[in-house]
């Protein structure tokens, strides 16, 4: 039992560090340190820099553009990205539809979509949630009726993140309402320029309008854009659960935030903006989050090591999402607390905002934004239901 990376892993880490140092644009780094909202252009630019290096989609199979990295190396890569203040790629492209296409796509679908997905020539959005199907996703009702070589879609999706940017959507739709609700769900890819699609933005509490409603009114989707078999969409979507476990807890992100908090503690303490008593209290809070972070980091490393050995340690993996999100949220709370009244005047996100404000202005919007991480991708309560059933047999 030891906590040392192998010489190969350390050399790999040096490669990653050198690349990030040389390749991450300064303006992006500055935005990330401040936690300013990243626009589509920011994310696309960085993804293409990564893609040029071959590192945009490392977890995909090597034949589909991935890297032959070990779980440990994938963990190191994610951690170094976060510590260098590099943005994460589009999760919909990199972590969701990409792996689905690799696993279940036809050769024609792979040829059409994979390279474009890795390079974000296609920006994907996810059409899963509906007004009546949130945590109970299988209750979804958007109907797809076969008509010749097309499906005809009618219904509505909601909470569709960045649908306003999207070129394509991957969606779960209902092709059969007669059996169990998990059956009769089909996985479709649809071009967002298809007639009959209406997008309506939903302003959210962080001052951003990345959430949307998407309405379908007789939208025709060619049968060739179906993933796998009709009626098996639920199985394909489930494949995403636990697909990639080396980064679930997002340890690097929380480490980077903790380093930022320590930096602020020194800076604000030094300039007298927080007094000695506040400073001591803050240091104590930072010690508390660091203990939690270290416990989670070790737990994540146990899962990574188990995966490198060929799997196992599921009971440890199951806690990573819940505890990881709680910790990310705690970090944002602490930054927002530090911002104080200066954090109340938040920036706008229109085109005229060039981000030339202090960290305080972005602190509270980011705090509000990060409430989402314990809600999306299966809320933490749903995660606990799963753990109760599968591990505790309750």
């Amino acid at each position: 039992m030891n906590l040392d990376f192998t010489p190969e892993d350390l050399a790999f880490r040096e490669d990653v560090r050198a690349f990030l140092k040389a390749s991450l644009p300064d303006d992006l780094r500055a935005k990330m340190i401040n936690r300013d909202h990243l626009g589509k252009a920011d994310i696309v630019r960085w993804q293409r820099i990564l893609n040029a290096r071959g590192w945009a989609v490392p977890a995909w199979p090597v034949d589909d553009g991935g890297q032959p990295w070990s779980p440990t190396q994938r963990y190191i890569f994610q951690e170094e990205m976060a510590l260098a203040h590099a943005p994460e790629g589009s999760p919909f492209n990199v972590n969701m539809i990409g792996p689905i296409l690799c696993k279940f796509g036809t050769d024609a679908q792979k040829a059409k979509f994979l390279a474009a997905t890795a390079n974000i020539d296609i920006w994907w959005c996810q059409g899963f949630s509906e007004p009546g199907a949130g945590s109970d996703l299988a209750a979804l009702k958007t109907s797809a009726v076969r008509d010749g070589d097309d499906y005809v879609l009618n219904g509505q999706k909601i909470w569709t993140t960045q649908a306003q940017h999207a070129d394509w959507m991957f969606a779960l739709v209902r092709t059969d309402a007669s059996g169990r609700k998990q059956q009769g769900i089909t996985f479709l890819l649809l071009d967002m320029k298809t007639p009959g699609i209406t997008i309506r933005p939903i302003p959210s509490i962080d001052g951003i309008s990345d959430l949307n409603e998407v309405f379908f009114d007789d939208v025709r989707v060619p049968v060739g854009n179906r993933i796998g078999e009709e009626g098996r969409g639920w199985d394909y979507a489930k494949h995403l659960l636990g697909h990639e476990r080396s980064g679930i807890a997002r340890i690097g992100l929380s480490k980077e935030r903790l380093a930022q908090l320590r930096h602020l503690e020194g800076e604000l303490g030094g300039s007298g903006r927080i007094d000695e008593r506040e400073r001591a209290r803050l240091r104590r809070k930072l010690a508390e989050v660091e203990v939690e972070l270290r416990a989670l980091e070790l737990t994540q490393l146990r899962v990574v090591a188990a995966d490198a050995q060929g799997g196992g340690a599921n009971s440890a993996a199951s806690i990573l999402k819940v505890k990881g999100t709680e910790l990310q949220q705690r970090m944002t709370e602490l930054v927002a607390e530090l911002a104080g009244p200066a954090g109340i005047a938040t920036p706008s996100h229109d085109a005229t905002d060039h981000g030339d404000h202090g960290w305080e202005a972005a602190a509270t919007p980011y705090y509000f934004t990060m409430r989402k991480v314990s809600i999306f991708g299966g809320s933490n309560e749903i995660q606990k239901n799963i753990i109760a059933k599968t591990i505790l047999r309750l």
Partner: protein, 377 residues
Amino acid sequence: MDFELTDDQRMLSETISRFVTDRYSFEERLTAMREPDGFSRAVWAELAGLGVLGLPFAEADGGFGGSGVDMMIIMEALGRGLLVEPFLATVILAGGALRLAASPAQKSARIASIIAGERIMALAHHEPDGPRHTVERLNCRAEPTATGWRLNGRKTAVIAGAAADELVVSARSERGVSLFLVDPALPGVSIRSHAGYDGIATAEIAFEDVGLDAQALIGEEGSGATVLTALFEEANAALCAEATGIMADTLDMTAEYLRTRNQFGVAIGTFQVLQHRAVDMLMQVELSRSMAMLAAISLARPAEERRCNIAAAKAKIGEAGRMVGQQAVQLHGAIGLTMEYKVGHAFKRLTAIDALFGNADHQLDMLADAGPLVPIG
């Protein structure tokens, strides 16, 4: 990065786990608590027979030169069984003082008999009238005499203090804190024994003009604080593993209870509010296990890294142990409050573990002063 046990460690784990399962039922614990010493001499002899008592001692002293991870394996198993036998007192604390600081003559007179299970030793350090978590600010005094030392002062919560054949006592002398070997039969030593709330026998000990010969001093005069610091780090790493074993066992019992206890015509484990509470417990157990591993591995790391990682582990496990213990009692209901049921005993032992050698608050204060932890990897 490797969290696997070696073949030898797997064998060690199987051996001690089988012993605890087969030999140390909860009823055995209750019986042991009623023995005159507050623990079972028979169980102690069997642990010696398994070679467990020699694990941390150097091979040159007759031991096995075991690592922190080896000790973690033993302590987690002892935790699952909630053993009351004086492994911490004799092997880790007093034995550790010998291991870290004693002369060859002092070692050879004692370690072999500890390993054989024939000698119980205890560390007398905590004081009734001193700071709770300190290695230095002691009221116990040792003054030089023509032939050695004269010891005065009081000690409290001395684990296995009444059963001990010999004590290791911390006291202030002119050059700082020093450790002394004290025969409890000497004139001026008075011992009052009672069971701690965790079921483990402890003692209040008073020293009144106790005359010690010059060979009683362990190591250099004034070296005691350094030895105690290292000792308490080892003890805390061991307690983290013990607590992990207790928590894992407690979670198992709680989940089983939720599956089998019926109210309102259904198993109470079907209620979501109880399910989520049990999941919260499970998460604390897994995080604690991670930290017990960190503490065990960190024993072999450089001083500052070792100190802070073990403090972080003890802080985490102090809080996790409180949460798991309280919720195990809560989910069991009234039966969790009784002396006839293991869960209440586990809760009390977890409470004691937090209190020993710096509780969670103390560790967090220390970490707040120390700054960032050394990065892993």
